[in-house]
Amino acid sequence: MGGESGVLTILGGLLGLAISAGFLGALSGLGGGVFIVPGLVIFAQVPMHVAVGASLISVVATSAGASVAFVRDGWTNVRLAIILECATVTGALLGAYLAGIIPGRALEILFALMMLQSAYFAMTQRGDEIVTSSDPLCTRLRLDGEIPQDNAPPVHYGVVNLPIGAVLMVVAGLMSGLLGVGGGALKVTAMDHYMRLPLKVSSATSNFMIGVTAGAGAIVFLARGDIATSVAGPVALGVTAGALIGSRILPYAQIRPLRMLFVAIITLIAIEMGWRAFMGI
């Protein structure tokens, strides 16, 4: 296959795959990276390192796109994001460096394990109990914020347990740089469960931080020459478009049945990737 028909088949295939991944990522709240990396490895048959590099670039784009509305509407806690980004960037740089050393098969196994962990997080019911005042460290850093309300005064919330959150953010950054995902599931869990932030603030702040986390990894890949333009270009475009469509549909979607469907899809993909890695396919 070559020439014009070949290029249209490849571009159409990559764009279709990327739009689907961005769409599923936005609807599930797990981000496009969780779907595009296995999609590229299994369907486009590109090596794991190439899939990770392309995914990191697309995660930067989707994070920027989604953050516009969240920051403008006041859902993102920018001060908290900046403090936690110190931890995620450290982890992401280490992860991206290690990704250049660790064999592709080992990365595929790690990816499969990470997907199973994401499925577990997706099934776990999160509470939305907030604290009204911050602990001394978070008070000193002025990390508390306000939840915007439609026709009422904003609701004040506090932040606690910053050190625990920071440690989990290093792990999230490491996963991001190593596996090409945003690490949103772990970030949201850290902020929601341990730092006691409201769920939507956790999601918005996590999404905002993902851009810097994935950006740190993407810069390492780009500087190393490990980004395949022929793959990353259409993937970045497609995932961004898919995420945009997904975020428009999200308010009208039935979240609970969707979440169960995604858990099933993610588990199947994790098994497939783990099987391929073990069998050396």
């Binding site: 784009a61 796109g65 403008r72 006041g74 403090i83 960037v89 740089l93 851009g211 395949a228």
Partner: protein, 134 residues
Amino acid sequence: MQSLRTADEENRILRHWTPLILRSILITAMAFLVVGLTLAATRSPGYYVGRFRLVQSGKTIHAATNWAGLTTGAAHGDPRAVMTLGLVVLTLVPIARVAFTFVLFVKERDAVFVMATAYVLAGLIAGILLGRIG
């Protein structure tokens, strides 16, 4: 060190300028990618297919990363250079956003946040060096 702005003023600046920075760079990067892909599909389809097959086979994927070659190539309508430029612009999104907050906190004389943003900015720039030696 005491902050010079109120929390409300800081919020207003962040909520106005951050989305503007994110959106402008994202649109620029996407425009480069659309032009690059269109050029690849129309001008040199055989070359694109060849590159993709090479990537699939696990052989070299090293893209042009020197600025002179990249800008010259893009100016001459080289699809790969235009797309790579789009990807480079995309990686500027986090750098620009963090640089903006760094300047904001320097103006506010908020020492802790100046150090935090400087650390993140240094980390992003260190990524370039890490990639070069990795």
